[in-house]
Amino acid sequence: MTVEKGNKLARASRDNGPGGKLATDPKLDSGSQKRIGDQLRAMYDELMQQPVPDRFRDLLEQLDKNGQKGGSQ
């Protein structure tokens, strides 16, 4: 049983072999990482800048009014 397990492990590590990659994840170089990060944040910032649709403001105000109507305060 232990032998079988050993074989399986050996096979698994060989499978990682072809690209010359180790079992640990490869890391991106810091320049590329920064570039990806910058693009992601730029895309995200644009979304964050969009005005909040009225439906959310209305929704929360509506709930606020209902809460006051309930009148525990």
Binding site: S32, R35, L40, M43, L47, M48, R57, L63, D64
Partner: protein, 181 residues
């Protein structure tokens, strides 16, 4: 208590909306669907306010709700739609944006090609400003898992966007072209 948000909380919820929308849009690739998700998130948060521990991170709590809603809805859709991956990716890619930023379109298209667990990990850590620990809590998985997903997401994006090529070929190839005139 459960249905009467005080004004302060209402402001906090309102302040969280842009972040929730950005996350939902990036996750789903559709503004309409994202807004429905955000609305459902707010409603669910309001009806579960008693479960929120004051003093803890409201944003993280809201993101957790949104993510769970997104996944349960996605699972439901996957049962309904025959070719979920293809149609989903297709919708992401053709999503129109008023600004029409080509760079972002490329970026969104690349983002849409990531496995969804990698996409959400990258969005939480790389864009929404959560720590690895917070993201792990939101996704209900180990910190190491989040780190590995973020790392794989970056590598995949870099190859989809040819980031390495840009770095290598950009100025160099222009110089070369100029020299060869």
């Amino acid at each position: 208590m459960s249905q009467e948000p005080d004004p302060e909380l209402r402001e906090a919820l309102l302040a969280a909306v842009p972040g929730l929308r950005a996350f939902a849009i990036s996750l789903s690739g559709q503004v309409d669907r994202a807004d429905d998700l955000v609305q459902d998130t707010l409603l669910r948060a309001l009806s579960n306010l008693h479960r929120f521990e004051p003093g803890t991170n409201l944003n993280a709590w809201l993101f957790t709700i949104l993510r769970n809603l997104f996944h349960s809805e996605y699972r439901k859709r996957r049962r309904e739609v025959e070719d979920p991956d293809g149609s989903y990716a297709g919708r992401l890619r053709v999503q129109p944006e008023q600004g029409a930023h080509l760079d972002f379109e490329d970026f969104r298209s690349a983002l849409s090609q990531l496995p969804s667990d990698q996409r959400e990990a990258l969005l939480l850590v790389g864009a929404s400003g959560f720590s690895y620990e917070e993201a792990a809590n939101i996704c209900d998985c180990a910190v190491g898992t989040i780190k590995s997903r973020v790392n794989r997401a970056r590598i995949r994006l870099a190859s989809l966007l040819n980031v390495d090529d840009i770095e290598d070929l950009g100025p160099d190839s222009m110089t070369r072209a100029a020299l060869q005139g």
